[in-house]
Symmetry: C2
Subunit: 368 residues, 2 copies
Amino acid sequence: MIKSRLDKLTASMRTSNLDAVILNPGPTLKYLSGLNFHLMERPVVLFIMPDKDPVLVLPELELPKVDLFPYKVQPIAYGEKPSEWDQAFRKAAQALGLGAKRIGVEPRQLRLMEFRHVKAGAPEADFPDASDVLAELRLKKDSVELDAMRKAVQIAQSALEAVIPQIKIGMTERELASELMVQLFHHGSEADIPFAPIICAGPNSANPHATPGERKLQAGDLLVVDWGAAYDGYISDLTRTFAVGEVDDECKKIHQIVQDSNAAGRAAAKPGVSCAEVDKAARGVIEKTGYGKYFTHRTGHGIGMESHEGPYIRGDNTQLLEPGMTFTVEPGIYLNGRNGARVEDNMVITEDGAESLSDMPREMRVVG
Amino acid sequence: MIKSRLDKLTASMRTSNLDAVILNPGPTLKYLSGLNFHLMERPVVLFIMPDKDPVLVLPELELPKVDLFPYKVQPIAYGEKPSEWDQAFRKAAQALGLGAKRIGVEPRQLRLMEFRHVKAGAPEADFPDASDVLAELRLKKDSVELDAMRKAVQIAQSALEAVIPQIKIGMTERELASELMVQLFHHGSEADIPFAPIICAGPNSANPHATPGERKLQAGDLLVVDWGAAYDGYISDLTRTFAVGEVDDECKKIHQIVQDSNAAGRAAAKPGVSCAEVDKAARGVIEKTGYGKYFTHRTGHGIGMESHEGPYIRGDNTQLLEPGMTFTVEPGIYLNGRNGARVEDNMVITEDGAESLSDMPREMRVVG
């Protein structure tokens, strides 16, 4: 199965005019090798070219991993002295004849460190952005991937359900976040959770990327919980918003609008519809109410091995949805200094529509 | 306090002939801002220049964070369209006059993505490696940092103490690792634990980098637990070795040697002593017994915001220890295919010696 992923890549390299692709440790390398490499102070780079065995530059102490590759790889190992590492990359470039070639890179994953080593080995080469070609590979999930994602959603949902009865006025955001972490691992999440739970209430809930802090939950707060779990290398990323005790009418109103917006976004998703149309469906609901300017981010993003990947559910993205694509629908309204609300689900496009992997109640439940 | 870190950086930039330094989300940005930024698909870059307010390029949705900076920062925000991001970087470069300047970078942290945006804004600039200047900043911990590290050690210790009574013969390494994760978060660890706990017994304990697996604990095993917690961005990294039921005399012997070696390494650490001397003190104890060739790694590494940073406690490192430096002392003996033992503490150099932040009993306790 993994070998076929590599074959698919080399086929699309040909049509994309890429002579080679380089990968450092990260989701794409894991997808194409089935192996976990650490992103560390020592560079690890896999060079892929059509019709040649891939070349792997790596530290000597990682050599045992070469035998675990599901296809033949030519290793070039280096020792502990950083001054000798460029030499290993020169060898790799020579072995593959990378002289003035077009070497595709993933700028969001590749660090300047690895890039400079590769460039030292192939100073005449061009390094076009191959993100689209590589993202395309991982865009449509197969059934094995979807099973892992379903499991990651289930773990996240049952962890939060276990926490809800414990939420009390006077608890800090941080206490709640730490209890949610405990429950995530209790319910079977892997250690590499996609992100630390974002738990923020009252004025902090109006910041879409707040960090849980020492503020205590107060009656009247909206409480935004944005969390996820990891299973078999795949992740979930969900949000639910709660009322802490009795909240005012505007809080109720913005939550209802966000919930309607989320439903409209989910309903719009199906094969052949563009990402922009899904964004528009969700955003339209909020704009109609006059709160449009308080929905300050895109409607969603792809999800899989990474918590942010394609397809991006943005107003300017004309990409058409296809079966197997997975993404979030997560509209929000943020009233600066007061309160915010967001409702987020994880969707998969099916043959004739879309399915939400997440099914936890979306209405504003009262806690505290 | 954080402002003084920035002042220290700008002072060392002058002596290092750096006109500017750029930082993306990671430990150094957190150290210099006190804030958490995500490493994501949207670039966030802080531009630092002496005598100017730092400029922060960031997505609009992160703008609320600008007010949280402990010093004045000039924000340049961009919207959701990636095609407009270069424009924000051009603005930043113009605002700071970065034309043909020397802009220091951290190649191990900076991604090609951020680098290319900055370069689009300042195509004539040079980008020298500023890793040493930046690492030097974080080398000596202040009292606030040490408090966080103490707390990270306490959380780790109390989490393991809670697990010890639950250890039973027949449990798998993986079950034990998962229970330790739960207890880490129960005791207040932050989500970003430095690494998943390494729990390995019997033959697996002889592999210093083993992953917990399905092997069940057996009477006669040595059980190595290498684990850590995170608090306020700082981490701990400890190891203790246990006897599962009755172990043979060689197990007892190698544990005692490792414990003595750990004590000797800790005793050797003080201001003005080199990293090599600490390594030699710990290693000497093991070598004297004839087990030297089974101690297959360096004695320790620096610790703080990252689990591997300077100073490295290696036989070839002549760097002198200074008050505020923090590092591990973690000698081990690994008898391939049989058993291994390691005892690891987290040390801080004081004005006249060194203190172990960790004080959990080091002798081989019996479990199971």
